[in-house]
């Protein structure tokens, strides 16, 4: 835990958290708070306060979902060319080639399907998390071999 002195910056009109008491501009009203990190402080339009556990949980879920999305995209990227080639064949009405490609890249397509399933499971797990600890203990790491 650390102490912060939160105030609305008189010129910038944004929330600031001073980490040292002398960092508060003279004559400015401030709120002294004990927080884990300055990111825990919020100005809700009427008052400066510490985020509720629910707010922190929601924020953390958003971060985790964004992290998952980023990660899954990186997992798909190496086999995107497979999907593109099949889609191209279908777009040009060449069903025979499309079928051949599906057969040729069966393994990659199965892996992509597994990633997608894992992604759905992870998203659900993140959404269902009840506490920050539960959320923070989740590792976004797909290691399933197909």
């Amino acid at each position: 835990m650390m102490k912060v002195w939160a105030y609305i910056h008189p010129e910038l009109r944004i929330l600031c958290c001073a980490l040292l008491p002398e960092a508060v501009p003279e004559g400015v009203e401030y709120v002294e708070l004990e927080v884990e990190t300055p990111d825990d402080v919020v100005y809700d339009g009427t008052q400066i306060r510490v985020k509720t556990e629910e707010e922190k949980l929601m924020e953390e879920k958003q971060k985790k979902l964004a992290e998952l999305k980023n990660y899954v995209a990186s997992l798909f990227r190496p086999t995107d060319y497979v999907v593109i080639r099949i889609a191209e064949a279908q777009a040009f009405g060449n069903r025979r080639i499309a079928k051949q490609l599906r057969q040729k890249y069966t393994k990659q397509l199965q892996q992509r399907q597994a990633i997608r399933q894992w992604n759905e499971q992870m998203k659900q797990a993140i959404r269902n998390a009840k506490t920050l600890e539960e959320l923070r203990s989740m590792f976004i790491d797909f290691q399933k071999e197909v």
Binding site: M2, I14, L15, C17, L19, T37, P38, D39, L75
Partner: protein, 365 residues
């Protein structure tokens, strides 16, 4: 020659005098040595006319005023009560030890001898080579000798000056010593000042100079004020080194931030990063309330640009302490998008958990 006062015992003990006629220069030369001060002195008297041959000259020399009285007539004088009373050819009275009365016989005139004698003295107006080691010991404390205006700023050949303004010179660094270049033409590195200042536990901002570096050590800290004053136009290199044990568990996910001016500015920063960890390659572009310079446990190297109109951190860091990390590498850049707020204090580093290690800050501009 004859010292006419030789009948005065006390005087003979004080002075040893010799007087010669120098026919080449038509002058009287008087050498006398004071046995008390061990000083030998010479004085001259230019005769107005050449003395007649085969005649003697009589010299009365006033030691106090350095004045001669030279005559072909023998002086008349009496000695009493430590005084010498001269009645002819002048009328004067001297302390017994302040006068030399001398008879110079014509047959003693020997210019070669005089020249030989002159070689034993330092002449004031003729260049000589001095082979003896002389001691300059003024009768009272003070400079041993002085240089005249013509000698000022003149190089003296072969003079291996021992000290300059009282200091010795050396190639080896030492206190109160003048540095001398090594055979390489460079100074020993030890001559250079220690340009590191330890700001651990400092309570006010230090004005770090260009080329100077600060070290700040911290133990189990979540917040470390750097205590370094800054201003627009400066540029820094910074190393954040965590000493927590390397591992794949135990670290809290969260940013390590540099909070300029020791405060956050809500959503005023944009953090761009590309990272590679165990699982793969990631990147993002996100809004923050401070500069981000690390994650979880990190070893971070970055550069700080401080212009009021453009404030940036850029660098790279290694992350450890989580399952996907140890190692992981992130390349990053953070801009403080405010273009009017001055950055006057480098700020405070905040950690997502208790962290130990040190921070090095070197000012480059």
């Amino acid at each position: 020659m004859d010292l006419l006062q030789k009948d005065v015992p006390i005087l003979a003990k004080i002075y040893e005098a010799k007087c010669f006629y120098d026919s080449q220069n038509n002058r009287i030369a008087l050498y006398y040595k004071n046995h008390v001060t061990a000083r030998t002195l010479i004085d001259f008297y230019n005769l107005p006319t050449t003395p007649p041959p085969n005649s003697s000259l009589y010299v009365i020399y006033d030691l106090q005023t350095g004045t001669f009285n030279v005559s072909t007539d023998p002086p008349t004088y009496t000695v009493s009560n430590s005084k010498v009373h001269v009645t002819s050819p002048i009328n004067a009275e001297y302390d017994m030890d302040k006068v030399i009365i001398y008879k110079v016989s014509w047959y003693e005139i020997d210019s070669d001898y005089i020249l030989t004698q002159l070689d034993t003295f330092v002449r004031k107006q003729q260049a000589d080579i001095i082979t003896a080691t002389h001691v300059f010991n003024p009768t009272q404390p003070g400079p041993a000798f002085q240089l005249g205006p013509n000698a000022q700023n003149q190089l003296i050949r072969y003079l291996n000056a021992d000290k300059v303004d009282g200091f010795d010179a050396s190639q080896t660094p030492a206190p109160n010593t003048i540095p001398v270049a090594l055979p390489t033409g460079k100074l020993d590195i030890g001559w250079l000042p220690d340009r590191r200042v330890d700001l651990t536990g400092a309570t006010s901002d230090y004005n770090l100079q260009v080329g100077e570096e600060a070290i700040i050590r911290f133990t189990n800290a979540t917040s470390v004020p750097l205590r370094i004053a800054t201003q627009s136009g400066t540029y820094y290199e910074m190393h954040l080194v965590c000493s927590n044990a390397g591992r794949t568990t135990g670290a809290v996910e969260g940013p390590i931030s540099l909070n300029p001016n020791n405060r956050t500015y809500s959503n005023a920063f944009v953090f761009s990063w590309i990272s590679r960890n165990f699982s793969g390659l990631y990147s993002n572009y996100e809004t923050r309330s401070a500069f981000i310079c690390g994650w979880a446990f990190s070893n971070s190297t970055f550069y700080i640009t401080n212009y009021t109109q453009y404030k940036n951190l850029k660098g790279f860091y290694e992350i450890y302490g989580r399952s996907n990390y140890f190692p992981a590498i992130t390349v990053f850049s953070t801009d403080w998008r405010d273009t009017t707020t001055p950055w006057t204090s480098l700020g405070t580093i905040t950690f997502p958990q208790q962290t130990s290690g040190y921070i090095l800050v070197r000012r480059l501009v």
